[in-house]
Amino acid sequence: MNMPNPKNMPKQIPMPMYMPKDIKLARAYVPNQPYERLFPLDEALKKGTLFANLYQPYDRRNQ
């Protein structure tokens, strides 16, 4: 198993703004979504989302 080596880690881990400042144990967090990169409307309907950063298409196994 690949464990992170503390020697290689930056002293301060940069925390993106979309996660809370004080993360608690035994809690689930989903990052807040940055409002950016919108698809054109016709493309958004086809893809199933307006948001490029939420678009996660499925690669079909049997293709």
């Binding site: 989903v30 989302t49 499925y58």
Partner: protein
């Protein structure tokens, strides 16, 4: 109060008759992780959500799931509607046909009728939101299985759309969870 629009959320264009595929896709019509269970789960849980934003997220997504249920019903019906009985005999759809004919009925792919035991309202918004996030992941996984066994381009196109909506809803429930966590934390200090 709801407003009905006489159209599908996303167009369904099925080009083949395929009773076997219909018998599989009906999983998302009346199965444990299907669209009806999703809709009733969220619409049932929303009253006791502690913030208006969380309530609104459950109302919006619960409503959209009904539109997805309508899409799934349309796919199942279009895959079977013009079939003579001779084309149904010997397919997995025949068990459905002897009980329901060409009506679309909420049971899962194994024929088990829909039941409210597929979801819960736990009296605890954190527990409820975790159930909802899990439900979105399980529905996404089901759609991936269905896409993998489908060969009708129109069906696959609609299933891809519905799968992507599960991804979006997971994000929204994650945001709702954060809203509720922060609300509950703030109550401890004021």
């Amino acid at each position: 109060m709801w407003i009905y629009e006489k159209k599908l959320e996303y167009p369904v264009k099925v080009s083949t008759c395929n009773p076997s595929l219909a018998a599989m896709i009906i999983e998302q019509f009346g199965g444990a992780d299907g669209e009806l269970a999703a809709s009733l789960r969220y619409l049932t849980q929303r009253w006791a959500m502690p913030t208006n934003q969380a309530k609104a997220i459950l109302t919006d997504i619960g409503t959209e799931e009904l539109a997805h249920w309508e899409m799934i019903g349309t796919i199942v019906y279009q895959l079977t509607k013009d079939l003579p009985e001779s084309k149904i005999v010997g397919t997995p759809f025949e068990a459905h046909y002897v009980n329901h004919g060409l009506d679309v009925y909420p049971h899962n792919a194994a024929g088990v009728p829909f039941t409210a035991t597929y979801f819960n309202a736990k009296g605890d918004p954190i527990a409820n939101l975790h159930e909802n996030m899990a439900a979105e992941q399980k529905a996404r996984a089901t759609y991936e299985h269905l896409i993998s066994i489908s060969d009708d381009p129109g069906v696959i196109d609609a299933l891809r759309f519905l799968r992507q909506r599960e991804v979006v809803h997971f994000q929204r429930f994650g945001e709702a969870l954060r809203i509720v966590q922060e609300y509950q934390d703030s109550k401890k200090f004021f």
